[in-house]
């Protein structure tokens, strides 16, 4: 039989490393009964050192003081952690209170209320914030900012101006790469759910591995990242009762299917899989990598990597940073914005991936560091499991250039995102199956 004489396309090569992910791993951490005050302290201290260094260039003539050092009428700068007092925020004590007038029976998607107000807190004390410079609708508990203002006779701090940490410094992007190389981002496969269409995912896998006939395009894909919610377990089986062996194998089906597909991808291109909210990983952020035992077919490949959530990696010296969406979804519950990208941009300007952790987002109680602080600006910042695809290019004051991407759920939209390493542009790859 004559072998096809067309030239076999070689997949493009690229350098990869994910050394930054070390800070998201908790194997070395030991729980000694510590509370979340430790992580808040670490966050405040590190951010405050940073803001103190920025304050002189911002408002050089003003003194900086602590909350306890506030004097009435004295204009100064204070730095602390914001706390947003929210009327509708679900509180565990509500279960014990007799009257339930404020808490509605139906859980709202968003817990905002016009009466929400902000408080600034540091280790010496807290002060209520007044004035319209700081909008409670935008800020959430856990953000560290510097505020310029003065104490009023009512004992509140009237805010005149706000200083956020701003975009962190960025490593310079390597000079123009000659060729187009793509990193494919997808999330929300939800294999095992009724929404997921196995044919759609199979088409995507075939496209990436070049079996759909477009080898030239597929050869330009150098890396694939799956950002969370890859499986969905049948909820009715998880009821705490012992499972019959038939049910046990039904429970395991989605993971088996995922492994088969990942095997196909890993055989051709390097792939990272991140855990999401519905995946069999720990609940609190940072989520630890999915166990390699779940992927007996794919794990032997050195192109297969099980990663943490959040996940940070470099491809050809282009820094990627991303999460499976829990941080942005939580911001959506406690603040508002015109688009999800606004939330993403805010987390970058606040230099913190998940400011609402540990307040409303589960988090490991670190004692000596806050791993969610963004120290170097990524070139691509992605968030998975969003409702629709969206992207934005933002520029920083020091020449930083970041592509923000909201990856839509694949099971609902059939859309994956491809980012071009050469120019940080991104486009969608969408698959739809219409059976007429």
């Amino acid at each position: 039989m004559e072998i096809d004489s067309e030239k076999i396309q070689q997949r493009k090569l690229s350098d990869y490393n994910n050394l930054q992910d070390e800070r998201f791993e908790i194997q070395k951490e030991m729980y000694r009964g510590q509370q979340y005050s430790q992580i808040y302290f670490a966050r405040l201290h590190l951010m405050r050192t940073l803001l103190y260094s920025l304050a002189p260039t911002w408002k050089p003539h003003l003194p900086v003081c602590k909350v306890l050092g506030l004097e009435e009428g004295k204009e100064c700068i204070i730095v602390g952690t914001l706390f947003k007092h929210m009327k509708l925020k679900p509180c565990v004590l509500d279960e014990y209170s007799k009257e339930r007038s404020v808490t509605p029976l139906v859980k709202p998607h968003n817990f905002m209320h016009p009466d929400d107000h902000l408080i600034l807190e540091d280790e010496s004390g807290r002060v209520k914030l007044a004035g319209s410079a700081l909008s409670p609708a935008i800020y959430v508990t856990g953000v560290v900012v510097a505020l310029h203002g003065k104490e009023t006779s009512a004992g509140e701090f009237f805010v005149e101006d706000v200083l956020e940490a701003g975009l962190p410094p960025q490593i310079e992007r390597p000079f123009e790469l000659k060729e187009n190389k793509y990193v494919v981002l997808l999330s929300g496969l939800s294999i095992g759910s009724s929404l997921a269409n196995p044919l759609q995912f199979q088409l995507l896998v075939d496209h990436i591995t070049g079996h759909l006939g477009d080898e030239k395009e597929a050869a330009q894909i150098v890396h694939v990242v799956i950002a969370g919610n890859s499986v969905e377990f049948p909820r009715k089986l998880i009821s705490g009762q012992n499972l019959a062996s038939k049910d046990q194998s039904t429970l395991y089906e989605p993971i088996k299917e995922l492994d088969i597909m990942l095997n196909q991808i890993a055989a051709g291109v390097s792939v990272d899989i991140m855990p999401g909210l519905n995946d069999p990983a720990n609940f609190a952020l940072p989520q630890q990598p999915l166990n390699r035992c779940l992927f007996p077919g794919s794990a032997p490949y050195n192109t297969f990597r099980s990663c943490t959530n959040p996940h940070s990696f470099d491809v050809d010296n282009i820094r990627f940073l991303g999460t499976s969406g829990q941080n942005i979804d939580d911001l959506d519950k406690y603040s508002e914005a015109k688009s999800k990208l606004d939330f993403v941009e805010r987390t970058l300007r606040w230099r913190h991936l998940a400011p609402t952790a540990p307040n409303t987002l589960g988090c490991y109680p670190f004692t000596d560091r806050d791993p969610f602080l963004i120290e170097t600006c990524p070139h691509v910042y992605f968030v998975g499991n969003q409702d629709k695809f969206d992207n934005r290019l933002i520029k920083g004051p020091e020449g930083q250039l970041v592509r923000l991407i909201c990856i839509p759920k694949f099971c609902e939209t059939g859309i994956a995102v491809a980012v071009n390493l050469r120019n940080l542009e991104c486009h969608t790859i969408s698959f739809s199956i219409q059976l007429s």
């Binding site: 009964g33 201290h45 280790e123 998880i238 705490g240």
Partner: protein, 150 residues
């Protein structure tokens, strides 16, 4: 009977009580006054937090010396953050890493091993933690646990 000031001090300051089993800690046990409890008796004590059980005598002079005083000042210094949930040495090392220049005296003292490695209230906090875990395990046994991985 009215509590005199002396008794109040005794009320707050208890000799350390270590319940064997449970969370293992990497601490030199020689530095603590230990009255180890056999595992068999753990059940009855787990029902009451150690804070409510005062053990041993009121030792005003032993611990209350200059070195302990210096360490307590270190514990109470807010600049170095909360003291609960960390050993003093870990907190000192954190302060060092965060570039707060903690006094080297403290590190020297802590490394001699002759002083308490935890802050004063650590044991009460731990006792409460173990107490709540005991309650939790009771609940786990009696009701179904819906989590897939926990």
């Amino acid at each position: 009977m009215a509590t005199t000031a002396k008794n109040m001090k005794g009320f707050y300051k208890q000799t350390k009580n270590k319940i064997t089993g449970g969370i293992s800690k990497s601490k030199p046990s020689s530095s603590r006054k230990v009255s180890p409890k056999h595992a068999a008796t753990q059940g009855s004590d787990a029902a009451q937090p150690a804070a409510l059980i005062s053990h041993g005598s009121v030792d005003l002079n032993d611990d209350y010396n200059k070195e302990e005083e210096m360490l307590r000042q270190f514990d109470m210094n807010i600049a170095y953050g909360p003291c609960l949930g960390m050993t003093r040495l870990d907190r000192w090392e954190r302060a060092l890493r965060l570039e707060m220049n903690p006094p080297k005296e403290i590190e020297r003292l802590l490394k001699t091993g002759k002083v308490q490695q935890d802050c004063l209230w650590q044991d009460e906090a731990e006792a409460l933690y173990k107490h709540s875990r005991a309650i939790e395990s009771h609940n786990l046994v009696s009701s179904s646990h819906p989590g897939l991985l926990c």
